[in-house]
Every structure is written in structure tokens, then in C-alpha cells.
């Protein structure tokens, strides 16, 4: 098995990479960790005329935790996040999800920006970015723009990049001190693509949910933000007695609203069932982490 022929460029400056990508247009692909692109080249699902390897562009390794936000450059590997004390302490949802990305050898090479760009419906990072209200910084020859996560993801394996553009950074707002989160997924074997998963954050004040975010993955279109379920929880008391009803209503919304497809791994109805089970598990775990009890 071999990829089809391509022209290979390994520029050392971002400006140079953007220039090459701009010239290549539709025919260009960015190679970072290669954990999604290389399988597609090997299987000849893709055969781009131009491959731009960005691994030698030093500034793209930036991983920076500021007062307001975490900046993740296009060369930051999954494993880099897990080795960052800042990420593990202050962005626990991101760390928890990253631990569930594939296997060590994949986490060593694969990049967070690559996973977001690829937008596999079963991938962890797109859902985390949506749940945290993160943004995607995109660059092209014409300049930069910053998109909200939900504007960036446009469906299965699709994103809002124009030809000649690439993702250069992700930005994750720093969670408030009263926010707790959980990421759960279900796969038949450890490290396989998840059949379904859920990311939840709850911001609590005196037993009342000020703010809830819930995103389901594995439903076939990329991250599914469960707006209706969030509305059931926001402003609601989630004490030991009340949370059961609140979560049950939210989960009912999730299972009603997701629209998973059948595939060889699971039927649509099974995925719908999993979405509900995992949403509940994520919500209960997040609430448990706020110190709240699940009655």
C-alpha cells in the first residue's frame, strides 16, 4: 500500500506554508501528526497533489496557559496536553477527553488541531471544543480569522476552512472556578473510535445550576450540542433530590434530539440509547465533582 504521488514541502515558516497552500488551493493538504491524513493517503481515500508538512514550523508548537485562555498551536500533540500541569489542573475536561484519544503511539504524534480539522464524528476534541465554547484560529494567505467552534464544524468530516487555509491555533477559555466537567465515551475496545460519548460542564452556585453545556459525539455529524437539554438544566436547582428529575428531563431531550445513522458498528437505536446513558453519566459525574450529591 502506498500513497499516490504528491509534491512534498516542509517549510520552516508559516508564511511560506500559507503561500504554498494558497497556490495549491483544493489540491493541498496539511500534514501535522499524520494520524488521520496518512491512513487516508495509504488507503487512497485522498490523493492530494501537494502535501505541506508543517512539522518544522517551530512557533506552531506553542502551548500557553494565560489568565483567560489556553492556546494550543497546530503542532501540539495529544500527549503534550497530558504532560502539561496547567492543562491537567485548569482544563480538566480537555485532559480527561485527551486521555481517551486512541493509543499512546497515536497520542504521541497526533495533534489536537488535526483532530479538530478532521472532525471525525467519533473524535473527542471537536466535542470538547464546542462544550468549552472554544474558538478556532484559521490562517490563509489573506490573513487570519477566528471562528467559534460551532461555526467551524459543518458536518461529517467537514469544516469551514476555505481552500488554502489551515488551522493554526485553538483557544479554550479558562473555566470558572465553580465549573465542573466530565467526559465519557463508550467503545468496544479501549482506544477504538467511540460509538458514542458525552462532554458536560455544570457551573453551580449554592446548589443551583447557573450554566450547563452538554455535547454528544458519535452521532454521525460531528459534535451535537444538546441545546434543549442544556435549557432544562440552566437555572434549575440540582440538589440531591432535584437532580434526578432534572437529569431525566435533559436525557429525554438528548435521546429525542439526536439523529444517529446505522453503521456496521451500531444501529441507530443503539446509538440513541448510548447517547442517553452517556449524557446521564457525564452529568452525574460533573455534578459529583462540584461536591453535589446525586440522590
Amino acid at each position: 500500500m502506498k500513497p499516490a504521488w504528491f509534491d512534498y514541502y516542509a517549510p520552516r515558516a508559516l508564511s511560506e506554508a500559507l503561500h504554498i497552500l494558497g497556490d495549491a488551493g483544493q489540491d493541498g493538504r496539511v500534514l501535522a501528526g499524520g494520524q488521520s491524513l496518512m491512513p487516508m493517503l495509504n488507503l487512497r481515500i485522498l490523493s492530494p497533489a501537494v502535501v505541506v508538512d508543517i512539522n518544522r514550523i517551530e512557533p506552531l508548537n506553542e502551548l500557553r496557559a494565560d489568565k483567560d485562555c489556553l492556546t494550543v498551536g497546530a503542532l501540539v500533540r495529544h500527549a503534550d496536553l497530558l504532560r502539561s500541569a496547567d492543562v491537567c489542573r485548569d482544563w480538566p475536561l480537555l485532559a480527561e477527553a485527551t486521555r481517551q484519544v486512541a493509543h499512546m503511539a497515536i497520542r504521541n504524534r497526533g495533534t489536537v488541531c488535526g483532530s479538530v480539522s478532521h472532525n471525525d464524528p467519533a473524535a473527542e476534541h471537536p466535542s470538547v471544543l464546542v462544550t468549552m465554547g472554544g474558538t478556532v484560529v484559521v490562517a490563509g494567505r489573506q490573513g487570519r480569522r477566528e471562528l467559534a467552534a460551532e461555526e467551524f464544524f459543518t458536518g461529517t468530516l467537514s469544516n469551514a476552512l476555505e481552500p488554502g487555509e489551515m488551522v493554526v491555533q485553538l483557544r479554550y477559555p479558562r473555566p470558572s472556578a465553580r465549573t465542573r466537567s466530565a467526559f465519557v465515551e463508550f467503545a468496544r475496545r479501549l482506544g477504538d473510535f467511540a460509538m458514542a460519548g458525552a462532554a458536560a460542564t455544570l457551573t453551580m452556585r449554592d446548589g443551583t445550576c447557573e450554566h450547563a453545556r452538554l455535547t454528544i459525539l458519535g452521532m454521525g455529524q460531528g459534535p451535537f450540542r444538546a441545546h434543549a437539554a442544556e435549557q432544562r438544566l440552566t437555572g434549575r436547582r440540582l440538589g440531591p433530590k432535584e437532580c434526578k428529575d432534572g437529569f431525566a428531563e435533559a436525557v429525554a431531550k438528548v435521546t429525542a434530539d439526536v439523529d444517529p445513522a446505522d453503521d456496521v458498528h451500531a444501529s441507530s437505536s443503539y446509538r440513541r440509547h448510548l447517547a442517553g446513558v452517556l449524557a446521564l453519566r457525564a452529568l452525574e459525574t460533573a455534578l459529583g465533582r462540584t461536591g453535589g450529591k446525586v440522590g
Partner: protein, 167 residues
């Protein structure tokens, strides 16, 4: 645009300079250009783990890495685990003594992966070993003996470390 490129890669401590097609995988480079056939290819899309090598000190799938991307890198393959005098790596010896291989196809990838695990986490639980090796498929399904061998290696290294401390 040239479809070939000159690269310089250190493999198992030896420096190789070669001209390679840009689309050549690191796995095919190791096997076909350097004749280091201990690195095996199973699925060629990153799922089976047979081609796992160490790239600049970290495990990587050599089927998902281009040879040109390894220009300037330091690669360790299964052939590099033996000492120059032929002595096996301690984990190789423990695999041998504990029947942790059958056909041997997955073994190079298992060893590279397990050595990285033990370097990061010298005293793993059985669950942690299972998790670490979950990206390496053994089609003989001899997983239990492989997991046992890694746990034995961790225990022996722990004993050796304790003895060294006593002395």
C-alpha cells in the same frame, strides 16, 4: 518539484544517508531500504500496532510517518533493543522465558510499546498494562502471557532497584 529527497536518519545508533521517494513510509524505508525487517506491517493505517517504533524517544506508527519526516530523527527499532554483544533487552528475555510470543508478528510493536510504558510508569497495574497495549493487536490472541510478562518485568525491575538501594 522533486519526488525524491535526500535524508539522514539515525537508526539504532547508526547514521544512514539515503535518497528516498517522498511518499515512502518510514516502515518501508526501514524494511526495504535498510533491510531492518524486524519492524512488521499489518494494517498500514495505524490500527494494528505491528509497525510501532521509537521516534525521538516516543512510540510512533512507522506506517503513518513518511521517511522524509524522519530526516534528522533518532529511530529505535526492534533490532536496536539488543546490546552490541547480542544480549537481549531485559524485556525481550522476559517475553522469551514467559511464552509471551507465539508467531512473533506483533512482538516488535508490543516490546516498543511496553518499554515506553515501563519508562513512563515503572509500576503499572494490570489494567494500565492492558490499556497501554490496547493499540497492539495479537492475532494469535496471546494477550494474557504478554500482559503477564510486562508485569513480571516491572516487578523484577522493582526488585533490582530495591536491591541496588540496599547495597
Amino acid at each position: 518539484m522533486a519526488r525524491e529527497q535526500r535524508i539522514c536518519v539515525t537508526v539504532n545508533g547508526k547514521v544512514y544517508e539515503r535518497t528516498v521517494p517522498v511518499r515512502l513510509s518510514l516502515a518501508d524505508f526501514l524494511r526495504e531500504h535498510l533491510h531492518l525487517t524486524g519492524t512488521h506491517l499489518g494494517c498500514e493505517h495505524g490500527v494494528c500496532g505491528a509497525c510501532t517504533i521509537s521516534l525521538n524517544g516516543r512510540s510512533a506508527r512507522s506506517c503513518l510517518t513518511l521517511a522524509v519526516q524522519a530526516d534528522g530523527a533518532n529511530v529505535i527499532t526492534i533490532e536496536g533493543l539488543r546490546a552490541d554483544d547480542g544480549t537481549r533487552h531485559p524485556l525481550q528475555q522476559i517475553f522469551l522465558e514467559n511464552f509471551a510470543l507465539q508467531c512473533g508478528y506483533c512482538t516488535p510493536g508490543m516490546l516498543i510499546t511496553a518499554i515506553e510504558l515501563l519508562a513512563d510508569n515503572p509500576n503499572p497495574t494490570e489494567r494500565e498494562v492492558r490499556e497501554a497495549l490496547s493499540g497492539n493487536i495479537c492475532r494469535c490472541s496471546g494477550y494474557q502471557a504478554i500482559i503477564d510478562a510486562v508485569l513480571i518485568a516491572a516487578r523484577q525491575a522493582g526488585v533490582a532497584h530495591a536491591n541496588a538501594q540496599v547495597r
